[in-house]
Symmetry: C2
Subunit: 577 residues, 2 copies
């Protein structure tokens, strides 16, 4: 049975323990949320010593199940003040799964000003002073650690933003090339890590080969069927593989739901220039790789190598959300500029969705003009420097709106909205409003049924059907996030019945339990219930499950749509609790 | 019957109307809160067109009842996002009462960038363009308006902070000398006024002599008894009259409850230098007036003239809260400096409590050192300039804490705490935690019973009795604020039974109704119930009725006390709702 690694930052002590009863059978998001639910005061200060920060690989981590290497990071969020789980790809989850660690829990806080690093291997776990890493960016930190720990380890780090305790600070996870390009971005969990005084975790898998599996034969057979489903579905074998998540730019722009210039329009006249097709074209022209997996065992490979004008590797492919946040939402139609900003965000350690929104709101306030590339770069660099303006921006879109008196501020529970306007994809509006996480597209990705016609079809402009759609997706997602699977597996899982069956069988085979499709659902519900309960105790109930007023009042071009799902309908999302 | 003046800022139209049924019998805070409760969506954007801003004189305004000239300003607060009423002295309420206006309601919002002024007299009400006032401070604005409207009018204005829509922006009310020294400070109502595009209200009483009174003889007799009670009670005839509210500095310091250097101690080693006694001494030495009333009919006269080193008038006496905020809380022991900062705050138009806390939190973050006078002045001047740092500070202590990652941030519902540490005056802690207004000492001034032994005695360190004390005070205060009486009349009202009786009789005589002491209580309860109900709909319930975590965890020197009133006790405050 995998173990829990408790790290008492106040006393600089580590301890390995058995999983407490209430964490048994849980992994990834489920383990994070259960731990926070059971052990953290919902009214604690998110950057205080009483908050905890959890890193948990999913239930299938460290196996040869395809795309099973997402790592969940959980805490009470300094951005939303709700419970929070943000997950990312990269290598760390697979390594932790192989070592047999179900979760790392940071408790307490180091003395102010002190900085530590945590080394974890099959043989030992130790907390070491790391004051020499102070003020370093993610790339600088990882470069230094690589020299010390070699090329087989993975890193979990924070940049300057995390040290500054900014609410947009992310937690970076290194990819197969040990680059800090995968981020548990949302909710400011990098600030929680910073508040504990932990700069980096080094996960060294050593000789550990695979997480233990009770019924290996059953697992192997199911894993094969699951991989086949991923290879059979067009989204996970062609669309994402060739164009990355940016394939959505043209699709969502065509749907009139691509938020442009701080959510003032649903169409961006320069969308084509920042589309997945353009990304593929520019990469091919510069002789870069268009299909790159961020973790061992990924067969979707939605990432790619963004090459500079001289054909040298510059950064990972910016994702759809990132391209949108800095592109359409800031009025910028230039992929080179977006890749540059994305790399700076990875380096400083900030969530690109929150930051892009923050700067779009600042542009609306007149700090810079929409479309001003140099201006946007200047602003993001302020964040890294920690100037007053940089700190405002790094505190997220909500704070920017408050400080500069902007009326159109797209946040729910103070978390900025992702790249789908809820007025023209109303299922997403329901998810944004009601998710336990604040505005989060990954919490219940209604774009599938509203736009892509994956897993059925619900008219994106209709009122009817959106709540049921979002609820079902939120439950399924909580289970997928607990398994540690990349969310993109949901596309085949929604369309190919055997894909879900295969996942269930892998979970059963690994733990030696019986679960069934019903059990998978129950897992999702159990996780959501705990998250909801925590939020209620933290003071977040139905009045907070709402979109900002302007989505109901301002019509979105080109469809002149408004968000009109009644409040009473929104309040039915959690009717299973 | 007094009328309602509705001002549609979107259409630049004014209309006089009868009071709607739900506002009848209400004035001041009661009228403000009832209007917001009945007409404003609790989830609206506080700086959006759907919020409303109300100015209401109390029920006794415009009569010869002593100290009846408080003006209530009500809205949904941009600082707390709860309902909000802030009241102030000065001349405007008396003038409005005489004119027969029960309330001015600002609705909608002017086109962005446009600025207006509202002129109100017994003959007309008109909204006029006032773009020439753009960017002016309160003193500059008033100076310019005096030239246009003469010396008999009163002004309600905002400074730059209100135009910037900052959450610490106040609404300034001119005093008897037409100086903008009286502020409805709390909750950022100046930002709401700014968001509407209104820079100034000019209230011209013209020939209007007195508000109509149904039973003049009864009123006159009761008013006389009430005035006598004020003259008989030592607090309202000696303490406040000679030393101002600053008489509390030595008292609260002695009690070990004077929050020092951002609530890290309850004693300030330089308290004596900034005490009421020192204020009297320095003023006497410089040949200033130590007893100045801010409104016609004030017989307490807690204010005074702060003279500069050459004996020239410099500013009004800074109040206890202001002296504390910039003195002990910022580690500054210099009255000249505090008076200077106070005048800047009046001029820019910001709440001194919120700003003093904001800068103390910034000092804790290391932006300036505690005790740095020039540094504090520099910071407050940044607010007036609207620099990024100034905007952070002007957004209040909560935002400063968030942006700079400070862990000790003394706010409830995002409103900064006043000058009584809740660990050593626990009754105040109950009021801070549960008030419908966020942390607000005036909402239920338990210092009376906890420290001054006015209206009984409850041990300030005891757990028992504080909830009942705070509840009773919160109810009585809501009624007093509705009458438009200066809250200091509560001292005699708590100790001299005839003082309450006289107030009830004046209210009865003025309106020609029968009310009784019971009716006065019911008025208070009715107002509180509406405010509470609004807040629940806005998403504020029991989990928000809590002090920040550090008050429970960090012991306050010199008594090493913590705030230990159980949450379940706090939840009993509203058991009458």
């Amino acid at each position: 049975m995998a173990k829990l690694l408790r790290v008492d930052m106040s006393e600089a002590r580590v301890a390995i323990q058995e999983l407490p009863q209430y964490l048994k059978g849980l992994g990834g998001r489920g383990l994070c949320s259960a731990l926070i639910y059971h052990e953290v005061d919902p009214l604690c200060n998110p950057i205080g010593a009483n908050n905890k920060l959890v890193f948990a690989p999913g239930l299938l981590a460290g196996t040869n199940c395809a795309n099973s290497g997402r790592i969940s990071v959980g805490s009470k969020s300094p951005l939303t003040c709700t419970i929070k789980e943000a997950n990312a790809g990269g290598q760390a989850a697979g390594h932790l799964g192989r070592i047999g660690i179900a979760g790392i829990v940071l408790e307490g806080a180091a003395q102010s000003g002190r900085l530590f690093k945590l080394y974890v291997s099959p043989k030992k776990a130790e907390l070491l002073p790391a004051d020499e890493l102070k003020g370093l960016s993610n790339y600088q930190t990882v470069e230094l650690l690589k020299g010390q720990y070699g090329e087989k380890v993975s890193f979990i780090t924070i940049g300057q933003a995390g040290e500054y305790l900014l609410s947009a600070a992310s937690v970076a996870i290194s990819d197969r090339e040990q680059r800090p390009t995968r981020h548990a971005g949302r909710g400011g969990l990098g600030a929680v890590m910073g508040s504990k005084g932990l700069k980096a975790i080094i996960v060294d898998p050593g000789e550990a080969k695979s997480a233990p599996i009770v019924d290996e034969a059953k697992f192997k057979e199911a894993a094969k069927r699951f991989a086949k489903a991923l290879q059979d579905h067009p989204v996970t074998s062609q669309g994402l593989t060739n164009y990355g998540t940016a394939i959505l730019i043209n699709i969502i722009n065509e749907a009139g739901a691509l938020p442009t210039r701080n959510f003032s329009s649903g169409r961006f006249e320069l969308a084509e220039r920042v589309s997945g097709e353009s990304l593929n074209e520019i990469t091919t022209k510069r002789k870069g790789n268009c299909s790159h997996g961020c973790m061992t065992g990924c067969i979707i490979r939605c990432s790619g190598d963004y090459m500079d004008e001289n054909g040298a590797y510059f950064s990972k492919w910016p994702e759809y959300e990132t391209i949108w946040a800095w592109g359409p939402n800031c009025g910028i139609g230039d992929l080179d500029a977006i890749a540059k900003i994305d790399r700076i965000c990875d380096d400083i350690g900030v969530d690109t969705i929150e930051m892009g929104n923050a700067i779009a709101v600042a542009m609306e306030a007149g700090i810079k003009q929409f479309g001003d590339i140099e201006g946007a770069i200047e602003l993001i660099e302020e964040v890294g420097k920690g100037t007053p303006l940089g700190r405002i921006l790094g505190s997220g879109a909500g704070v920017v709106g408050k400080v500069f008196g902007v009326k159109r501020v797209p946040v729910v529970k103070n978390q900025a909205l992702p790249a789908y306007d809820p007025r023209s994809i109303k299922g997403m509006g329901v998810t944004y409003a009601t998710s336990t996480m604040g505005a989060d597209h990954t919490a219940g990705y209604a774009v599938g049924a509203n736009i892509l016609k994956v897993g059925g079809y619900v008219d994106p402009f209709a009122v009817e059907g959106q709540v049921d759609l979002s609820r079902g997706l939120q439950i399924a997602t909580a289970a997928i996030d607990s398994a540690g699977l990349c969310l993109f597996v949901a596309f085949p899982m929604l369309d190919i019945p055997d894909a879900l069956q295969a996942v269930v069988e892998m979970l059963e085979a690994k733990a030696g339990v019986s679960m069934g499709g019903e059990g998978f659902q129950e897992l999702g519900k159990k996780v959501l219930k705990m998250e909801r309960e925590f939020n209620l105790k933290a003071g977040f109930g139905p009045p907070h499950d709402r979109l900002p007023e302007f989505f109901k009042l301002e019509k979105l071009p080109p469809h002149d749509s408004v968000f009109d799902i009644p409040d009473e309908e929104l309040d039915k999302v959690f009717n299973f609790v």
